[in-house]
Every structure is written in C-alpha cells, then in structure tokens.
Symmetry: C3
Subunit: 140 residues, 3 copies
C-alpha cells in the first residue's frame, strides 16, 4: 500500500470565501503514484470546510447568503455562547457543519473519479489568516 500526505495553505482575505482546489488535489494524487485508492481531503480548522459542488460564481453567492441566513455572523455573546470566550466566530462553527469538514474521493486509473461537474472547494468562514487543508492518498 502506498500513501502520501500533503498540506495546502490558504489565506482568504475576507471572512467567508470559496476557492477551487481541484487541480492542487489532482497534483497530489499524481505525485502519490496511486492508481487505485482513496483520497481524503479535509479542513484542519474547525471554522472551514472542504466540499464538492459546482464552480459557478452565482451559486457561491447563493451559498454565502444562505449560510448567513442559517447561521448569521454576530460577535455578541448573546447570540452565540461561544463568543463569551472572546471569539467572534461562533457563526463560522455552524456554517462549517452545514458545508462539512471533508470529502473522500475515489482514485481510479490514477485520476480523481469524478462526475462531469464535480469540483473540490475550500470553504472559509473565518478567514484573514493562514489555514491548512490535509490531502491524504492511500492505495496502490
């Protein structure tokens, strides 16, 4: 069994943002030499997500508005108990649960085994500082 572990770092200039990381994950898979196996790709921070959906800017705007409705940003400690710790990112811990922490992707014949529109995104909900994504490939 082969395995490869790499970390990607993102520093999103705004509080919330999405970055297409598909080609970076493809490069890790190519470097791994794995032809048949699985890739795990996860946010290493608990106010961020890795998810798979469409690379369409209108949809990303929709996601932002929707997440803001489901878990609005509010630094006050009344809305989120979490903000009593001095943090202001209670909302981000909720948004991340909706969008998920990780994706697991099949590697088949050395490639990400994707449907026609699948693209991998880093989702940031409390940005303006460097945060990491782990990519782990296992297989043969």
């Amino acid at each position: 069994m082969k395995s490869t572990t790499e970390h990607l770092t993102f520093n999103i200039p705004s509080r919330m943002g999405f970055v297409n990381i598909t080609s970076q994950v493809e490069q890790v898979v190519a470097r791994s030499g794995v032809k048949e196996g699985l890739v795990l790709c996860n946010a290493m921070h608990i106010t961020a997500s890795v998810f798979i959906n469409d690379d369409e800017p209108g949809l990303h705007e929709d996601y932002k508005r929707w997440l803001e409705k489901l878990a609005p940003f509010d630094p006050s400690p009344q809305t989120y108990h979490h903000n009593r710790t001095g943090e202001d990112n209670g909302d981000a811990h909720h948004k991340r649960q909706i969008m998920g922490r990780e994706v697991v992707i099949a590697v088949t014949k050395g490639k990400l085994d994707f449907g026609p529109w699948e693209q991998i995104f880093y989702g940031e909900f409390d940005g303006r500082r460097p945060k990491r994504v782990l990519v782990k490939v296992i297989g043969e």
Copy 2:
C-alpha cells in the same frame, strides 16, 4: 490491496426522491472479494446525495418538506443567482449540501458493518434524467 469500482445509474421520475440502494452496494462488496476494508459511495452529480438513514416512508416525506423549507425550489433568478445561468436547480445544490455527497462504510468479514437500522439512500434533488453513483471498495 484489492479494489473494485462500479457505477450505479438512477433516473428518478420526479424532481426530488429517495431510493434505497443498500442491496446494490452489498452486491458490489460481495463481488469485490474484500473482507476487511472501506467502501466509498458517492453521488457523481452535484444536485444529488448519498446518505444513510431509516427506510421509513414517513421520514422521507419529512425530509422532503424540511429540505423544501430550508432551500425552496424557485426557478426565478432573484432567489438563486445560480438560476441566472439558465438553470432552475439552485435549490437542489443547497439541498444536497444538507444531505451530503457521500458515505464511507466499513467492510468487516466481507459485509457492510452496519447498525440495526442503517440503510443507504440515493437522494435526488433534480431528477428526471439519468444520474450516477460511484461505489469504490478497497481492502483485503
């Protein structure tokens, strides 16, 4: 390490619907010959889900009503920016994020290692056309 890759195709006659795919996934595991390992089962389309829950029609009705409340169908480009592209399925990209893209299941002694009520479902949010699910088994 052994690995097997199969695709299942579903054509749901309505916009939203759930199909129990447990026995089909079990058959792929049996064909793989894997006794100890993992199965990845994911929607290959970004307006569909694979998830694990109860095979109970009342619950499925509840899910449909709940998802419709959290992300209502609305073809107008005012509600979902995504629909400015000419699509009418902005809602489906949101419903899929709630229900998830994939499940990873343990294979133990050649079987899906499930609790008493776990069943695997294909969840469709923009049906009326053929769409695929990937089943990848790895292990020994």
Copy 3:
C-alpha cells in the same frame, strides 16, 4: 494492509448531548499498529452523529439551540410523519443529517493527523439508551 475494528458504546442520560471521544479513537489507532492510513469513525444509529469541532461548552450549547431551531423536538405525528410509526424522534433523524454520520481521519506516523483544535465528538439526539460508534482503521 492492516485493519482493526472496534466499537464504542455510549449511554447519554439526556435526549441531546455531545461527548469528546478523541482519546478513545486515539487508543484504537495505537492498538491497530497502523502508521499510515485512514480511520473511519461513524455512529451506528441513525439518530446520532460523529463530528469534528471544538471542545468548548458554549459552542455545544449553541449547537443544541441551533439544531432545536432547525428541527424542533415534537412528538406529535402532525409535525413529523415519522412519529406516526409510534416513535417520537422524528426531529433526531433531522438533527443527525445536519451534524453528519461519520468522519474520516488521516493517520500519519501512527497519530491522528489533526489541526490544532480538531476534536472528535459523539453527538446524541435521542439518548437514554446504549448506542454504538464504529472505529475502523486501515493502513500499514
């Protein structure tokens, strides 16, 4: 390829609750002898979750209030069709979908490959009885 399968049992005294299970999962990984691989950790019941987030009691209170808002407890069969079966836990099947069934974690150099704040939680939404979590480690 090595593999190890263990089950953890939880009996949460309330309907909803969260338990940090990180050290228990670390112990399974240590016992497995796997140095490079993946761990799957999933609820075996469909009204419970395994998820990764912050070990901060205020945040856990926030999650409870938020989940109660998104999918309120209501035993009546009017709110949840599922409760026509005689169950009263329709809400719990919804809360679990928000928080997810499972996590997949990288094992690197024999350890859970975690960011600074990642902790694994068992999330219970219909407690007061014993329920199980599966931990499956594969790798080398």
